[in-house]
Symmetry: C2
Subunit: 207 residues, 2 copies
Amino acid sequence: MTLLLSHISKFISLTPEEAAYFESVLIRKKLRKRQYLIQEGDSVKYEHFVTKGCLRTYEIDEKGQEHVIQFAVEGWWTGDLHSFISGDPTTLNIDALEDCELEMVSRQALEDLYLRVPKFERYFRILIQNAFISTNRRVLSIMKMPAADRYKAFIERYPDIEQRVPNHQIASYLGITAQSLSRIRASLWNEKPEQSVRISHADPPHP
Amino acid sequence: MTLLLSHISKFISLTPEEAAYFESVLIRKKLRKRQYLIQEGDSVKYEHFVTKGCLRTYEIDEKGQEHVIQFAVEGWWTGDLHSFISGDPTTLNIDALEDCELEMVSRQALEDLYLRVPKFERYFRILIQNAFISTNRRVLSIMKMPAADRYKAFIERYPDIEQRVPNHQIASYLGITAQSLSRIRASLWNEKPEQSVRISHADPPHP
DNA sequence: CGTCTATTTGAATGTACTCAAAAGCGGTGG
DNA sequence: CCACCGCTTTTGAGTACATTCAAATAGACG
């Protein structure tokens, strides 16, 4: 069974026919590292499920600053729901941090799917519900935790992502600069020196 | 037609029977100012639609600091989706800022409703979708805007709420202290003195 | 009126930022 | 294979914005 179908089956159960129908509307796509999936100004036509690789969603503000909104790895959906639904041009960019493989559903296919297999309405409701809950948590964590704690929480929660994504992008996700993150990491070194040797040749910085 | 039904009819259309069935599962509730709707530790049994009044959702951190997550006025849903769905005890508090009237749906009633009138699955999917999109925007605005701009954006977007809610709670919603908000407001005074007298008669700006 | 809460203001502190530059790492082409 | 180039990470110094603590003023409500 594909990664996507097994993901779906955690929430709803499909007959073989329903599963086959669903698979028939999917579009597959490969992306090379650094390629864009979506660029600012596009009208977003698909929602994307990641079967392989890692992507990031970010926005660029007036000052040219990038703000990372989301990382997506295997088993995650990504895209821009707002543009996907409204058809408005997106303000977001999504690009591949690694070579990627995606399964995509178009708006039309999804609407048809909702009518033909209403269970999918439930599947996506639950997905979005979970996404909503976790975004809410993120708002709270930005408001109530200092940056260092947010970083610790991040590596706790997404240890896999932390390994695959450059620090300055994690910094952006956390809402701080790369420099600040670097200093935070340095201060964690002193705090718990045991954990510092995890990767390999990483010596504690030394003045 | 009730406020709730007219809200629903913006997204799905119901037959009179479906509407009647829906209304039959609703529970009405009144709340006096300062009363709790939900308290930390509760297992949340209902989602609540506000037909009258104004409520706030907040969390208290280890240091005893309150963090306002949401305000809800007429036409909004409020509650704790996470606890509502999982049954876990909530970490949130919701209380009434004014005397309130609510319509409530229980988890069981909602599940039954989904089965009997699957269109509701769509209604709530769309609701949550919108909530998700706007929370995402909030994350971005916290990350990329200074507090003063966030405040300006807030009063633009929710002029009604701004009138009804004490400043220190707006400050909390914005993720800043009441003192900081007070200084921000003072600085807006100098910046655009014309707007400061909005309520009474408009004098030509004059330093 | 008096009490309680909300708002404002001041002064000192702190956290994260900007600007700038050095060091580290990785990929590419000669 | 190595030298070079570009990008990432680190470090330093000075700055800005928001915080804390404290106290005064202003409003609301009984």
